[in-house]
């Protein structure tokens, strides 16, 4: 198993405990939180321009949230005991409390909001389809077929309230993941009060970018016209969020460099050697500075629609890659150096092993399959309706 060690590490530290699967987990929950915040921009803050992405953002959030526990299950030594977290949660443990935050967010916020928003279509589809699809829709109606105007208005009001509650819940969801790392005093790379905030903002960045990319992709696949007003608005919000995220990360970095405490020399060397490519090149230069510059330029220059779409695609892809790199640098980086500050180890990632690269790739692709299925089951778009159509469509924010 000989893992190359430089300098001195405590004997039990040489082998990394948290693998690429644990990198995936904050990445996926981050996409969820970010996608949801984008959806709530329309619903709560009445940002009309992003309406076309409302339902898509919700379904994206759901697809990723359903996959989120899977890397954890693969990682556990005893996944069959994972129910213990709900049966005997240790209240002082951030991980245990997160189980309930996850459950609340999935059930109380996301599923409920999607159900309320789609309910009239579900009832209609339970009448118009046949076979196993009809069965699913009938179950989803919970046996109630009332779609009177007042019931829909009640749904809408309740949905608004849930979304309102959902915004702090989304912050809590991913902020908690940040806290799971940030509260570990033993690890100076993780331990920071800024960690939950940095995680939340980088989550928003990755979520907004993902929905933006998905919107462009799905619209093209459907052969429809991309709503440029919507796209420009999303890109604008992406830029603002990114600037805040970058500022927070740079603040943390500058403070560390200036204070240069006990851990600094060791961490600095680690960044310059083992994390150079993933942190400086991929995360900062390619994944943050470049997209911010591109998006910033779009605010100033007047390019054609086609050119802007290309720039947004590039910026979006770089962003998602950069945020993944950030999760990698936090999780893996935090285990590459010794807590004695005297040495470094190496991460040996397997390929077709339980915690290897192959399961990670599969888990990243899986949400898109789920999304495809959800889009088929609960179509976010009414192909016949035009962009400015009113009536039921306006109430539920579809295009």
């Amino acid at each position: 198993m000989a893992i190359p060690v430089e300098g001195f590490m405590y004997p039990n530290e040489v082998e990394l405990q948290w693998s690429i699967l644990i990198v995936l987990y904050p990445f996926i929950t981050g996409l969820v939180a970010g996608a949801f915040i984008l959806a709530s921009l329309e619903r709560v803050f009445r940002v009309q321009a992003v309406k076309p992405t409302y339902r898509l953002a919700l379904l994206t959030a759901l697809s990723f949230l359903l996959v989120a526990p899977l890397p954890l299950q693969l990682h556990l030594g005893h996944p069959e005991r994972s129910l213990e977290m709900y049966l005997t949660p240790h209240r002082s443990s951030a991980m245990a409390m997160f189980g309930f935050v996850y459950l609340w967010y999935l059930m109380g916020v996301l599923l409920l909001e999607i159900w309320l928003d789609y309910r009239s279509e579900i009832v209609e589809l339970s009448r118009s389809t046949s076979g196993w699809k009809r069965l699913i829709y009938r179950v989803l109606t919970l046996g109630s077929n009332n779609v009177s105007e007042r019931s829909l208005r009640i749904d809408d009001k309740l949905g608004y309230f849930i979304t309102l509650l959902g915004i702090p819940s989304a912050f809590l969801l991913h902020g908690y993941v940040g806290f799971i790392f940030g509260s570990i005093k033993a690890n100076p790379w993780w331990s920071s009060p800024l960690m939950p905030i940095v995680f939340v903002f980088s989550a928003m960045v990755s979520g907004i970018a993902t929905v933006m990319l998905l919107y462009m992709l799905t619209t093209r696949l459907r052969g429809q016209q991309i709503d440029m007003r919507c796209l420009d608005k999303i890109a604008q919000y992406l830029l603002y969020t990114f600037v805040i995220d970058f500022s927070l990360e740079m603040l943390d970095l500058l403070q560390r460099i200036y204070e240069a405490d006990e851990s600094f020399r060791s961490l600095d060397f680690m960044v310059h050697s083992r994390l150079w490519i993933s942190q400086v090149v991929v995360q900062i230069l390619l994944g943050t500075v470049t997209p911010i510059a591109l998006l910033g330029l779009m605010q100033v220059l007047k390019l054609t629609d086609a050119a802007r779409k290309r720039v947004y695609t590039l910026a979006g892809c770089l962003t998602v890659m950069g945020i993944f790199a950030m999760r990698w640098n936090v999780v893996i980086g935090g285990q590459l150096f010794s807590k004695s500050f005297l040495g470094y180890t190496t991460y040996k990632m397997g390929f077709a092993t339980r915690e290897g690269l192959l399961p990670a790739i599969i888990l990243m692709i899986l949400p898109f399959f789920i999304l495809w299925f959800l889009v088929k089951l609960l179509p976010p778009w009414h192909e016949s309706a035009s962009l400015s159509d009113s009536g039921a469509a306006a109430v539920h924010g579809t295009s």
Binding site: L83, T88, R91, W115, S144, R150, S151, R153, I154, K157
Partner: protein, 183 residues
């Protein structure tokens, strides 16, 4: 989850039923949630181990399980109960503070069944060197040698009696070496 209701002005006494119909789906949802909660409570009562919470937030039975592991090292008092001659020998030298099993290894099985389980004969060239091979990090007042120079690598008990290691004392007292006539 709060349920919203609206008064419909002008519909008289019939608004109650209408309201109920309009929030029927929410009531059904509340029912589903209630059933799920009850199921969870029942599951919890059935599955959580009985001794959980006995001393703190953990399975109390774990304390008993952890303290009933079988023992591998008997402890020097167990050895001394039988091997009093070695005890007397050790008392005269520096190794009086060294536990028997430090050199002889775990012997609980031997104590359990002294007749059939015998300790393995030690290779002193290996065992003694672990403590007494010279190393810059060892305390300066600790007896240590460079075995290559000291003995050329032969077994230490060729000259030393491990239970009473100092050679000069031995000769002065009894006039002969303890290693004379060794098996």
């Amino acid at each position: 989850m709060r349920k919203f209701g609206r008064r419909c002005a002008g519909t008289g006494g019939a608004w109650d039923t209408h309201l109920f119909k309009d929030i029927e789906h929410l009531i059904r949802l509340a029912g589903v949630i209630a059933i799920a909660l009850v199921a969870f409570v029942i599951l919890r009562a059935a599955v959580v181990p009985r001794s959980f919470g006995e001393y703190g937030h953990y399975r109390g039975a774990a304390i008993g399980e952890l303290s009933s592991r079988p023992i591998a090292f008997a402890g020097h008092e167990a050895c001394e109960a039988c091997h009093s001659d070695v005890v007397d020998q050790k008392k005269l030298g520096k190794h009086v503070v060294v536990a028997c099993e430090a050199c002889h290894g775990a012997q609980a099985k031997h104590v359990e069944d002294p007749g059939s389980v015998q300790p393995v004969k030690l290779d002193t060239a290996v065992v003694c060197a672990r403590c007494h091979e010279a190393n810059a990090a060892k305390p300066k007042n600790f007896p240590q040698v460079v075995t290559a120079d000291h003995s050329g690598g032969i077994a230490c008990d060729t000259c030393h009696q491990p239970h009473r290691p100092k050679i000069e004392e031995e000769k002065a007292e009894t006039g002969n070496s303890a290693t004379k006539g060794k098996k």
